[in-house]
């Protein structure tokens, strides 16, 4: 088996074994911490779909993470207050069904990504980075100034949403749900990475003229990739809000976009499992270094600098070696 594959399975196993151990040791905090890493990993896998496979450096993925969060917040808020979200021209009720919330989050995030992508993908390089950032900032300030759902203070939900009769307030059960979603998302991205679309998207990243010469349009490939990417990150946002039972404009902030990008870079750009490793490493660092100092980000910055300068492939580059073309 290739080293990369071995590392993938080790990672998945550790992500399952650690919380199970924490469960038997009665350490719910550690289970929640792992769940947080898993949700961040999903957000990172989403960004990596655009950034790693399509070469689209988006610094605005907080827009989708935040939108997913607010989809959960708003729908659950209306469910818990027994009010309707919209009463005219037809009634839209809130819901506390996790599946329904995920579905709405995925669809709306994909639509938002299509809109943002349709405008920003006409640019490239630094302009693309700035435009995606600007869209996320617009949403950030919009939610701050929208008092109905808490404005700057955010919105609290008292009980986690429902998932097929599970007790989602039990940390190990909620963890199991999130772990399952991560597996499905990874499977999806793995399949797409070796599909016709994946091959053509990767070619567009490497050489747009080549893609045009074989009769395809890079813009359409990028837009599709951006929508899929936004949808996955939006799903993670809805789960993150459920984990915290709280949403606030912070989910839309540029720091959030930056953190999602850090997961991707730390783990290894363009690897299916890269962001999983990156998110886990980020949580470990946050936990360990955060214990040392409130200013732990300065150490994180140093590590990030080291990765960018000396280990461009991130954790996966170090462990699995140079990227090999998928067969």
């Amino acid at each position: 088996m290739r080293r990369e594959a071995i590392f993938n399975y080790t990672l998945l196993f550790a992500l399952l074994a650690f919380p199970l151990w924490a469960w038997t040791a009665d350490e719910p905090f550690l289970i929640t911490l792992t769940t947080r890493a898993i949700i961040f990993a999903i957000a990172g896998v989403g960004l990596n779909f655009a950034l790693g496979f399509g070469g689209l450096v988006s610094l605005g993925h907080a827009a989708f993470f935040g939108l997913g969060g607010y989809v959960m917040g708003v729908l659950a808020y209306h469910a818990q207050t027994y009010t309707a979200f919209v009463t005219w021209p037809f009634v839209i009720e809130g819901t506390n069904s996790m599946l329904m919330i995920w579905l709405v989050a995925v669809v709306l995030s994909a639509v938002l990504a299509l809109a943002i992508g349709a405008l920003s993908l006409r640019t490239s390089g630094v302009y693309f980075i700035m435009i995606t950032l600007a869209f996320a900032q617009m949403l950030y300030y919009f939610t701050i100034s929208w008092p109905k759902y808490g404005g700057e203070d955010g919105l609290s939900i008292y009980v986690r949403n429902q998932f097929f009769g599970l007790n989602t307030m039990d940390s190990i059960q909620f963890f199991a749900v999130c772990y399952g979603v991560l597996l499905l998302v990874l499977l999806f991205v793995f399949l797409v990475s070796r599909s016709p679309f994946g091959l053509m998207l990767g070619a567009a990243r490497q050489n747009e003229a080549r893609v045009q010469a074989v009769g395809q349009t890079p813009f359409r490939l990028y837009l599709t990739a951006f929508a899929v990417s936004g949808a996955i990150t939006g799903l993670a946002g809805a789960m993150f809000a459920d984990l915290n039972r709280f949403v606030s404009p912070t989910m839309f902030s540029w720091q959030t976009s930056g953190e999602i990008m850090i997961f991707v870079i730390l783990g290894g750009v363009g690897r299916v499992f890269g962001p999983v490793a990156g998110a886990v490493l980020f949580i470990i660092l946050e936990h360990l270094l955060g214990g040392l100092s409130d200013y732990w980000h300065i150490y994180l910055g140093a590590i990030l600098l080291g990765v960018v300068l000396f280990a461009r492939g991130g954790l996966y580059g170090l462990i699995a070696g140079r990227q090999v073309a998928h067969e």
Binding site: G202, V214, G215
Partner: protein, 251 residues
Amino acid sequence: MSNPVLQIRGVSKSFGALEASKNIKLDVQTGEIHALIGPNGAGKSTLIQQIAGGLQPDRGHILFMDQDVTTLSTAARARKGMARTFQISSLAMEYTVLQNAVLGALGARGDVYRFFRPVMKDQKLLSTAQEMLALLGLGDVQNTITSELSHGQRRQLEVAVALTSSPKLFLMDEPMAGLGAEASKKLMAFLADLKKQAPILLVEHDMDAVFALADRISVLVYGEIIATGTVEEIRSNPAVRLAYLGEEAEE
């Protein structure tokens, strides 16, 4: 006799005061190699780009298989059967040789928006790709990463990828550039055979190659076609000698 595969009708293109293409008329007939020659800066690349779709002409029309393609995108023209090889190799460098060839076959087949089936296990794409690689003598290196190929092998791969789409016309921008004498000769023999499959519009600096290969030659000088004709006609054309071959001889 059928119409020419490619007809360029009065195409003009200016960049500010510079007229890169002046009322160009040119056609490529079935079964021929039509060479486009001219000194540096004559506007060959500008013309090729307008044919392939990278640039819009200011005036004039480009007809491909009796259809006006002047306003179509590069990708749309490629799908209609225009296959291009680039002056500077333009391949997906991180992919294997085989992946590049499969890319060509996939692009031509068009079912790109499929997300769940493994493309490198698609037997139809693979057999087309492998057949073309074998034709160009790249069968042994099909699992090599493209960036590790020699310059000559990349040029051959460009041609192989172009072939995977079973094109109706080849636009070849200096396919021999930078090739050794041996590789050059091989490629020439290959092109001489290839024209039976689809005609070739060949931009080439290597005069020996042009005179050996071309059925007809057009000479482009300062954005204007000053002569079109057979090898003999071009060789003996005084205007061409003065404007082009003469200049070369003086160097």
